[in-house]
């Protein structure tokens, strides 16, 4: 626990207090700026996670084929792994970046709890976390009020809970990969509503400083999506309509708009695999092969 505090909780706590000083003692602004900075810092991981998630999504049709073809679980597993290998996809690729970010999130939760706790005991606890620098010490006590909220108390006005719900929904809606598998689609549908509801519920239970962090983190996530995927996917129809049950290809083209480089790169391996199995796909295969050296090499290996 000592190491955990030393590496995560204490540096985050002090960084938040420093930001509080920079932004004239407004701790709400400090949380917002810190969230933006953290999202920017972990952006490479987030992008990698998006790429991996899309690559896996693109492999769905092929995986369904494997499931139909091989009834023996062991064999199916082997073939699935082979498929991953051939497509150059790491199934843990979308989990690893998320796992790396978890300590930062949890550290931030704990830091916020310590800073905005507001009780005399939590203030004493804060003293054990702050570095003995005059610049940091002069921030104490921190101002807990931000807009209509006491950052140390849950926001009972429901406004923050609604913002968290809406922003989580939008981000979730944009990030949910398309799939043709009815079971996965059903799970995605459930998660699309469950996650925002859960976070809205949590917002009503925890200090509103955490709610501000969640809302801001989601908003930054949506903005990042805008910059990585272009403006077209973000429109009210896309965001408010539940994911359609239309075929994956059509749905993907509606939701994802013009093919950004990143998306194209992520989907390439799967398309290539599908095409390789098609005896009449020669013309299209030829066209696809003009892309990139790496694919050429992979093709050669096959």
């Amino acid at each position: 626990m000592f190491l955990w505090d030393l590496v995560f909780v204490n540096p985050i706590t002090n960084a938040l207090v420093i930001l509080n000083n920079i932004f004239l003692g407004n701790f709400g602004v400090a949380i917002i700026v810190f969230t933006i900075l953290m999202r920017l810092l972990t952006m490479p991981l987030t992008l990698r996670q998006i790429r991996s998630s899309r690559s896996l999504s693109a492999l769905q049709p092929k995986m369904q084929e494997l499931q139909k073809k091989y009834k023996d679980p062991k064999r199916r597993q082997e073939e699935t792994m082979k498929l991953y290998r051939e497509a150059g996809v790491n199934p843990l690729g979308c989990l690893l970046p998320m796992l790396v970010q978890f300590p930062i999130w949890i550290g931030l939760y704990q830091a916020l709890r310590i800073i905005v706790g507001g009780t005399p005991e939590s203030i004493i606890g804060l003293s054990q976390r702050l570095y003995p620098w005059g610049y940091i010490e002069q921030a104490v006590p921190l101002e807990n009020n931000f807009l209509w909220m006491d950052l140390g108390q849950p926001d009972t006005s429901l406004i923050l809970a609604f913002i968290v719900f809406a922003s989580t929904y939008v981000q979730q809606r944009l990030a949910t990969p398309t799939t043709t598998d009815p079971r996965t689609q059903s799970t995605n549908q459930m998660m699309l509503w469950m996650m925002p509801l859960m976070f809205a519920f949590f917002t009503l239970q925890v200090p509103s400083g955490l709610g501000v962090y969640w809302a801001m983190s989601n908003i930054v996530g949506v903005v990042m999506y805008y910059f990585t995927h272009g403006p077209e996917p973000i429109n009210w129809r896309t965001v408010l309509m539940p994911p359609s049950t239309a075929p994956a290809g059509r749905q993907a083209s509606r939701r994802e708009g013009p093919p950004p480089k990143e998306k194209e790169a992520a989907e390439e391996p799967a398309e290539e695999l599908v095409e390789a199995d098609q005896p009449t796909g020669g013309k299209r295969k030829k066209k696809r092969l003009r892309h990139g050296r790496s694919r050429g090499k992979r093709k050669d290996r096959r």
């Binding site: 998320m98 949890i106 009780t119 005399p120 004493i124 054990q128 104490v140 006590p141 239970q205």
Partner: protein, 351 residues
């Protein structure tokens, strides 16, 4: 992912106030908070620590009809003319009859009360988290005057020679006229102040969250000297002859020369010290947050007891010394007695 988030959220619940009120002795009864948000009178003549009354009772209510729930009590009760005065985290100042615990009067402030009330010449002075210092008639609770500072007042005011000295989280120490509440002077520190000041021959000593103990001229508020540590001072300093003793949240106890602030000695207790140092006969008693009690020689800081007493409870309240016994209230409510030779006895166990 969901389960991890749930776990993280569960760990990040709202911090609950626990309270750290110390005990007070009056008419052979010990008045102390013996449970979260509960005040009680204990018969000290009874070796089993018989509880004489408790507050609040289930049916006790505020004047507006709402149920009394003190939430937590940080304010050590004070007794004057058989009335017990203490503030609570619910923002109310309560005046109870010492014999039976009945409510004499109650007054709501604009925020939680953390510091102790002080009664002097028929007036109760108490600070509140709403940033105000209230001066009230001790018999009726009627307001005499109020003074607004720039932030929460968590420190206990000090009243001496017609002047009220109070430290505020707005980083200032104020000297106010006790009769009118008018400001005489103020001194601005570098950070919030939660420590109760102490007066020693025209010198006001106060610790701060800027990790400094300061000596101020009580008449003008000018700084005479300061001593800087590497963590906050939240304790009320103790002055004995030409030495001032102060516990620090870095776990150390410092003995300073009261005239110039020079360090005489320091002793590390290993855990934050919030409780005020007290003199138990000729032993300097220090209680740290872990519930370890150190008996030190005030002259050189050496340990008088072979080992510290371990109460195995969080101790943040100021000990009370009566004759050759110290009474210590642990967080949660357990009451201990400690003798000069380093023996601790559990007087009351929280139910």
């Amino acid at each position: 992912m969901l389960s991890t988030l749930f776990l993280a959220t569960a760990c990040a619940g709202i911090a609950q106030p626990e309270g750290w009120a110390g005990p007070t002795l009056a008419d052979d009864r010990l008045v102390a908070s013996i449970g979260r948000g509960e005040m009680a009178a204990v018969d000290i003549d009874d070796s089993s620590g018989r509880v004489l009354w408790r507050f609040p009772l289930k049916d006790q209510r505020h004047p507006d009809g709402s149920k009394i729930d003190p939430e937590a009590i940080y304010s050590t009760p004070v007794v004057a003319d058989s009335i017990v005065y203490f503030g609570a985290y619910d923002g109310w100042l309560y005046a109870l009859d010492l014999p039976n615990g009945d409510i004499r009067w109650q007054l709501e402030t604009g925020g939680p009360i953390v510091g102790n009330a002080v009664v002097q010449d028929g007036v109760v002075y108490v600070g509140s988290d709403d940033g105000r210092l209230y001066a009230l008639d001790a018999a009726s609770g009627q307001e005499r005057w109020r003074f607004k500072s720039g932030d929460s007042i968590w420190a206990t005011p000090l009243v001496a020679d017609g002047v009220v000295y109070v430290a505020s989280m707005d980083k200032k120490v104020y000297a106010l006229d006790a009769a009118s509440g008018e400001e005489k002077w103020h001194f601005k520190a570098k950070s919030g102040l939660a420590s109760t000041p102490v007066l020693a021959e025209g010198t006001l000593l106060v610790g701060g969250l800027d990790s400094r103990i300061r000596a101020l001229d009580a008449a003008s508020g000018e700084e005479k000297w300061h001593f800087a540590a590497d963590d906050w001072f939240w304790t009320q300093p103790l002055v004995l002859e030409d030495s001032v003793y102060a516990g620090c949240l870095n776990g150390k106890v410092y003995a300073l020369d009261v005239n110039d602030g020079n360090l005489k000695w320091e002793q590390d207790t290993g855990a934050p010290v919030r409780a005020a140092p007290v003199l138990l006969d000729d032993v300097l008693l220090i209680a740290n947050r872990k519930g370890e009690l150190y008996g030190l020689d005030p002259q050189n800081g050496r340990s008088v007891w072979p080992l510290p007493i371990e109460l195995a409870k969080t101790v943040l309240s100021d000990p009370l010394v009566e004759e050759a016994t110290a009474y210590i209230s642990a967080q949660g409510g357990d009451l201990f007695t400690v003798s000069k030779d380093g023996r601790a006895v559990l007087l009351v166990v929280t139910e």
